[in-house]
Symmetry: C2
């Protein structure tokens, strides 16, 4: 007799769909939840696509993650957030997050590439109306950019909460796509005199620049130097 499924046995991958199986390089696609979460958690700027008057619009946006839900926030006056809140059917969106890891220089122009990890989320964005979920979402957004920061800042007051729209997008129809590794040149090109290899690309942080009006004795917090 089998034991009932425990939380540890829940599916570890998103189910592929017609639009998450790529037509090209399917071997680079992954539906692994841990991998998807890791890519989403490393980044904090996504590109949100939606349709307005029949045409696509793509805007950069911050996002946060709580389990299998992504949150995006913005002014209640911003177009996509207004559109998501305007109807109970929500707003069809696509949120894409991309990390660049390296430039791949092949001997042939054709085989130039980049090493990257990206996540594409298809779904419907819904306005978050529950005040508690909204507060948790805003904390997640702040902590997504700087882990630990939400607890070390003044939370939004009623007026600020009212001026902020939050939309939720469930992680359901999701895929990751990756390129890793070195150069894939044609065998007959290997003797060409062109340098080939990978140039690693990294995102780094500079020295924190304190606001000139800091209260006396306010040092740089540990969660910031930890970045």
């Amino acid at each position: 007799m089998q034991a009932p499924p425990s939380p540890q046995q829940r599916p570890a991958a998103y189910a592929p769909t017609g639009r998450t199986v790529p037509t090209r390089s399917p071997q680079r696609a992954s539906y692994d939840k841990e991998l998807v979460h890791a890519i989403l958690d490393e980044g904090y700027v996504g590109h949100l696509g939606f349709v307005r008057d029949g045409a696509p619009v793509v805007l950069p946006t911050l996002y946060g993650r709580v389990g299998e839900v992504l949150y995006v926030h913005g002014s209640t006056g911003s177009r996509p957030l207004r559109a998501a809140g305007a109807s109970e059917e929500g707003l069809p969106v696509c949120l894409t997050v991309t990390q660049v890891d390296g430039l791949v220089l092949a001997r042939s122009a054709f085989h130039h590439s980049i090493n990257y990890r990206s996540v594409v989320v298809h779904g419907t964005a819904y306005d978050v109306t529950d005040p508690d979920e909204k507060r948790r979402a805003l904390d997640a957004l702040v902590d997504h950019v700087v882990p630990g920061r939400a607890a070390d800042s003044r939370p939004a007051d009623k007026k600020e909460l009212a001026a902020t729209a939050v939309i939720r997008l469930d992680l359901d129809e999701v895929s990751a796509k990756l390129r890793t590794g070195g150069v894939n040149d044609e065998p007959e090109d290997l003797s060409l005199p062109h340098w080939a290899g990978v140039l690693p690309v990294r995102t780094t942080y500079g020295t924190p620049e304190p606001d000139p009006g800091l209260a006396p004795g306010t040092g740089i917090p540990g969660y910031l130097t930890a970045l």
Copy 2:
């Protein structure tokens, strides 16, 4: 009597349109061509949005710029490139490029932000069929990522050219959006004990990793160390 406009007097800005004037923070928007070009030239990964079966799709893509034209390339089998080539009317797209410059930590959660520069291009993507334009576009794509590299690699041969689709997107309906500077906290929050300021974010390159099969005596080229 006025002299006729010389090439130096051509408009230095894109004309704003209904969809390039933001509903929020219009003071952060710019239509200056030099600024738009500088943001586009600093980046090389854009997020291309298009509509498929009525829903938005956003995919990361490399791009190149030649004057007032952006080029995107990909396999002839990729969905957006196939869609752009399938009809003479082209494919309505939105290409967005974002550079992150800093994390802005305010005393209040509400005023957290990021410093960034982004460009949003609305338009129609057309399949490039002229072989000479296609070759120039591919050179521009390689040189956009690593300036000087196109001349130091084997150009695409006929078979590779045939397998590569290139689409063009004119820079016409374009806007930049920027946030720069420090923290904008409410006056009553200035005495709070939370650290506030800006954490600069930079993209850096690591040490080039040569392909193990390099032809003997192939050193790291100057255009690479210059990055």
